[in-house]
C-alpha cells in the first residue's frame, strides 16, 4: 500500500462539465461531434471538439481573476472545484494544497491573439493579453481562486507528463510539504492547434478540457481508491524507439492476473496508435480509450484517463485500473490505481 489516496476527481471535456458527463459519453461510445473554427484570413475551417459553454455563467466564474482568463483556466478551475467538492473540501480549503498544473499546448487562444496583434502593429498590442499567454498563468489563476496553494508548479511536456505530475504530488505528500495535492491537466482548442495536429495525422481532432485528481495521505472513506504505482517516464530517443518505450512501460507496470481495467491513450489513428495497440494486444481485461470519444485532448486527455479509471474503481466496477499513456513525442508512462477496502 502506497498510502497515497485519491480524495476527489473532476473533469471538464467536450462531453460537458463534470465527471458524470464524461462517464456518460464514454458509456455511450459515440465520438463527440466537432465544431468548425474558421481560419483567420479565410481558408478551410478546422474541426475541433470544444467544451460546451457554461450557460448561465456560474458565480464561481465571476471571480475577479477569471474575468479575462482564457478557457483553459476555466476548464482547470471547473475540474478542480469538482475534485474538491467530491472530497468535501470547504472554500477556501482548510488545508494547504499543492497544485501541479500540466500542459502541452497551453494558452494558445491568447497567444495567437496577442501575436496576431504584434504582427499587425506591436505598438498597439494589448498589455492585457500578454500575461495570459504565459504558461503558468492558469496555475496562478487557479491558485488565486483556491487561496491556499503555497507550492505550485507548471509542468510542460507531452501527455505522459500528467503521470509525472502524480509522482511529484506523491513526493510532496510523502515529504509533508503539503496536506493534499491537486494534479491538473488542461488544454484549450484553437484553429492553430487544430492546424498543428493536422501536420501529423488528418484524422486527429483537437479537444479542450481538463481533468483533476486530488491526492491525499489522509485516510478517505472506505472503499477508497489508492495510487499504487507510477512508472518512470520512458523517453523516446535514438536509443529507445517509441514502441520500445511503450514495451518498457508495460513491463514496469504491475499487472494482476485477473486483468482489471486498462485506460489507454489511443486516439483512433492506426499509425499514431500502433505502438500502444501492439504493446497491449494481449490485454485480457476491460479497456476504455477516452480519446476515441472525446478527441485529442493532449494533457487534459491523460487526466481524463485517470479520472475515468478512478471513477470506475470508486463505483466498484473493477478492483484494479491501469493507465497507459504513450505520448506523442516525449515518453511513455503508466500508472496503477487500486480499490482499497472491501
Amino acid at each position: 500500500m502506497s498510502g497515497i489516496r485519491v480524495a476527489g476527481v473532476g473533469a471538464v471535456s467536450p462531453a460537458g462539465w463534470g465527471t458524470a458527463a464524461l462517464r456518460a459519453a464514454l458509456e455511450q461510445g459515440t465520438p463527440i461531434l466537432p465544431t468548425l473554427v474558421p481560419r483567420p484570413g479565410g481558408g478551410q475551417a478546422l474541426p475541433v471538439r470544444e467544451v460546451p459553454r457554461l450557460v448561465p455563467v456560474p458565480a464561481w466564474a465571476k471571480h475577479p481573476r477569471l474575468r479575462r482568463a482564457s478557457p483553459i483556466t476555466l476548464h482547470a478551475v471547473g475540474a478542480v472545484r469538482e475534485a474538491l467538492s467530491m472530497a468535501g473540501s470547504s472554500e477556501p480549503p482548510a488545508k494547504d494544497l499543492g497544485l501541479i498544473l500540466c500542459l502541452l499546448a497551453g494558452c494558445v487562444q491568447y497567444t495567437e491573439r496577442f501575436f496576431g496583434e504584434v504582427l499587425r502593429d506591436p505598438a498597439s498590442a494589448s498589455p492585457l493579453l500578454f500575461p495570459e499567454t504565459v504558461f503558468n498563468g492558469p496555475a496562478s489563476h487557479v491558485a488565486a481562486v483556491l487561496g491556499r496553494t503555497p507550492l505550485t508548479y507548471t509542468l510542460l511536456g507531452d501527455p505522459s507528463v500528467f503521470l509525472q505530475g502524480l509522482d511529484l504530488a506523491a513526493e510532496w505528500l510523502a515529504a509533508g510539504y503539503v496536506d493534499d495535492c491537486l494534479v491538473v491537466g488542461a488544454e484549450e482548442t484553437s484553429w492553430l492547434l487544430a492546424d498543428a495536429l493536422l501536420q501529423f495525422d488528418h484524422s486527429v481532432q483537437a479537444a479542450g478540457g481538463a481533468g483533476a485528481v486530488l491526492l491525499t495521505r489522509t485516510p478517505t472513506p472506505s472503499p477508497g481508491v489508492e495510487l499504487e504505482q507510477v512508472t518512470d517516464l520512458q523517453v523516446y530517443a535514438q536509443a529507445q524507439s517509441r514502441p520500445a518505450a511503450a514495451g518498457r512501460m508495460r513491463a514496469m507496470l504491475s499487472e494482476s492476473a485477473a486483468g482489471g481495467l486498462l485506460c489507454d491513450s489511443r486516439v483512433g489513428s492506426a499509425r499514431l496508435d500502433a505502438a500502444e495497440t501492439r504493446v497491449w494486444r494481449d490485454w485480457p481485461g476491460a479497456r476504455v480509450s477516452p480519446k476515441l470519444v472525446l478527441g485529442e485532448g493532449l494533457m487534459a486527455a491523460s487526466a481524463w484517463q485517470c479520472v475515468t479509471a478512478i471513477d470506475a474503481l470508486s463505483r466498484g466496477q473493477h478492483r484494479v485500473a491501469l493507465i497507459s499513456v504513450v505520448g506523442q513525442n516525449e515518453a511513455a508512462a503508466g500508472a496503477r490505481f487500486v480499490r482499497a477496502g472491501p
Binding site: 479565410g42 497544485l99 496577442f114 502593429d121 504565459v134 506523491a170 512508472t231
Partner: protein
C-alpha cells in the same frame, strides 16, 4: 521518476554538489569569459538585431553572439540543422557542463530544465505560415514539434547519448531556479544520484513585444534598485549544471564547484504580474531555503537578487530582503546581475546560480555598473564596484509572473 521510489528515502538527506556548469549569456560562451564579465560588471546591452523593433517603445536587449557551429556531440547533421536558437544555446551550455563534470552516458540520468517559452521563434514562424494561405507548408511539422519546450531536453539526450526522464518546469521567471531546486529534491530524496539541470530561453518577437506592451522594458538602461530605475532589459541565454550527491562525486574523485545547500519556493497569488507589495512569498522562500540549509542571514555573504529594475519588483524584493535579513541587512552585499546581462527569463535562475558559484570559487562580488542613487527602501548595500571578498555562502532569488518565488543557497566547497 517511478512511484513508489526504487530507493528508500534516506534518513539523512545527502549533500548535493555541483560538478559541472556551462554558461551561455550575452557576455559570451563559457565559464571564463562570463566570470571575467560579471566580475568587472561589463554590461552587454545593445540594439535589438534579431527582429524589427522600429514600432516598439523599447529598442534595447542583451543578445548572445551565437557561433554558427555547434560543439561536438553525437547529433547527426540533420538533427543539428533543425535546432532553433534556444536549443543551440542550451546545447553549448550543456556541452561545457558535461565536459567539466566528466560524466559518462547512462540510462538513468534525469533532466530537469526550466523555460518560459521553449522554441518560441519556431512557433512564431509556424503561425506566420499557417496564417498565409500561399506560404509553403514544408517544414511545418518540424516547426510544430521543435516549438515544444521538452524537445530541447530530448536533444540533450541525443547529443550526449544518455537516457532518463525529462521534467520541464515553466514557472515563468523562476523556472530556472525551480528546475535546480527540483533536481536538488530528487537527489536529497534518494531518487537519483545525478541530475542534469538548468534553464534556457532565447529572445523572441512575441515575448519582447509582450514586455514592451506592459511598458516594463526600460527605455534607458536596466538599473536594479536605483531610485530612478525605469524597467528591465530582456536578455537571452542558457545555463546547465551537473548536480550529484556528495558520495557519487567523491566516488569518482570529481572536482566540486560548490554545494547547493538550500532551496525554498512559495507561491504568491496576489496578482498575475505584480508581486505582493510587501514581498511576503519572497520572504517565505528565502526563509525556507535558509531553514533547510541550516543557515541564517548572518551566514550569507552575498545575495544575488532577482532585481529586475522594475519599480514594483525591486520594492517588493527589497522589503522582503530587509525583513528576512534583519540586522544583517546593513552589511549584506546585494547585487542584481540583470544590470549586466538583462533578464534571461527561464534561464535567469540557472545563470544566476552559476554566477553565485563563480563568486564562491573565485572570491569576488559581481557589481552593478552605472548604479546611481540607491532606492532608500534598500536597507542593504548594493555592490557598485568590482570587489574581492570572502564568500562562503551565496544566495540567489528568482521571482516570476504568476507569483512564483524561488530561492537557492550555495556553499563554498573545500
Amino acid at each position: 521518476m517511478p512511484f513508489p521510489p526504487l530507493r528508500v528515502r534516506p534518513a539523512k538527506p545527502p549533500r548535493v554538489v555541483v560538478t559541472g556548469a556551462g554558461l551561455v549569456t550575452p557576455l559570451g560562451i563559457g565559464w571564463r569569459v562570463n566570470a571575467d564579465g560579471f566580475r568587472a560588471g561589463r554590461a552587454a546591452f545593445g540594439p535589438v538585431r534579431r527582429f524589427d523593433v522600429s514600432r516598439h517603445r523599447a529598442r534595447t536587449a542583451a543578445e548572445v553572439d551565437l557561433p554558427a557551429v555547434l560543439p561536438p556531440t553525437r547529433l547527426t547533421p540533420k538533427q543539428a540543422r533543425r535546432l532553433d536558437r534556444a536549443s543551440r544555446m542550451l546545447l553549448w551550455a550543456a556541452h561545457e557542463a558535461w565536459e567539466q563534470s566528466g560524466w559518462e552516458a547512462t540510462t538513468d540520468l534525469p533532466v530537469v530544465l526550466g523555460t518560459t517559452s521553449g522554441g518560441m521563434s519556431l512557433g512564431e514562424e509556424y503561425y506566420r505560415r499557417a496564417l498565409d494561405g500561399t506560404a509553403s507548408r514544408r517544414g511545418q511539422a518540424t516547426r510544430a514539434l521543435h516549438y515544444l519546450a521538452h524537445l530541447p531536453a530530448r536533444i540533450l539526450l541525443e547529443a550526449f547519448g544518455f537516457l532518463g526522464p525529462i521534467c520541464i518546469i515553466a514557472n515563468a521567471c523562476a523556472s530556472g531556479a525551480n528546475a535546480l531546486g527540483r533536481a536538488w529534491e530528487l537527489l536529497r530524496a534518494g531518487r537519483a544520484e545525478r541530475v542534469l539541470t538548468g534553464g534556457y530561453d532565447a529572445l523572441s518577437l512575441l515575448v519582447y513585444s509582450g514586455f514592451d506592451s506592459l511598458q516594463t522594458i526600460s527605455p534607458t538602461r536596466c538599473r536594479p534598485f536605483d531610485a530612478d530605475r525605469d524597467g528591465l532589459t530582456l536578455g537571452e541565454g542558457a545555463a546547465v549544471l551537473c548536480l550529484e550527491t556528495q558520495e557519487a562525486a567523491e566516488r569518482r574523485a570529481a572536482t566540486v564547484l560548490g554545494e547547493l545547500a538550500g532551496y525554498g519556493h512559495r507561491l504568491d497569488p496576489h496578482h498575475l504580474t505584480q508581486p505582493h507589495p510587501q514581498g511576503d512569498a519572497a520572504w517565505s522562500a528565502m526563509d525556507e531555503a535558509c531553514r533547510v540549509a541550516g543557515l541564517g542571514p548572518a551566514d550569507v555573504d552575498y545575495l544575488n537578487a532577482h532585481g529586475t529594475g522594475t519599480p514594483l519588483n525591486d520594492v517588493a524584493e527589497a522589503l522582503a530582503i530587509n525583513r528576512w535579513a534583519g540586522d544583517r541587512a546593513a552589511s549584506l552585499p546585494v547585487s542584481s546581475t540583470k544590470a549586466v546581462i538583462g533578464h534571461l527569463l527561464g534561464a535567469a535562475g540557472a545563470v544566476e546560480a552559476v554566477v553565485c558559484l563563480q563568486a564562491l570559487r573565485e572570491q569576488w562580488l559581481p557589481p552593478q555598473p552605472q548604479l546611481g542613487h540607491v532606492d532608500p527602501i534598500c536597507q542593504f548595500p548594493v555592490v557598485r564596484e568590482p570587489t574581492h571578498a570572502r564568500v562562503e555562502v551565496a544566495m540567489s532569488n528568482s521571482f516570476g509572473f504568476g507569483g512564483t518565488n524561488a530561492t537557492l543557497i550555495f556553499r563554498r566547497w573545500g
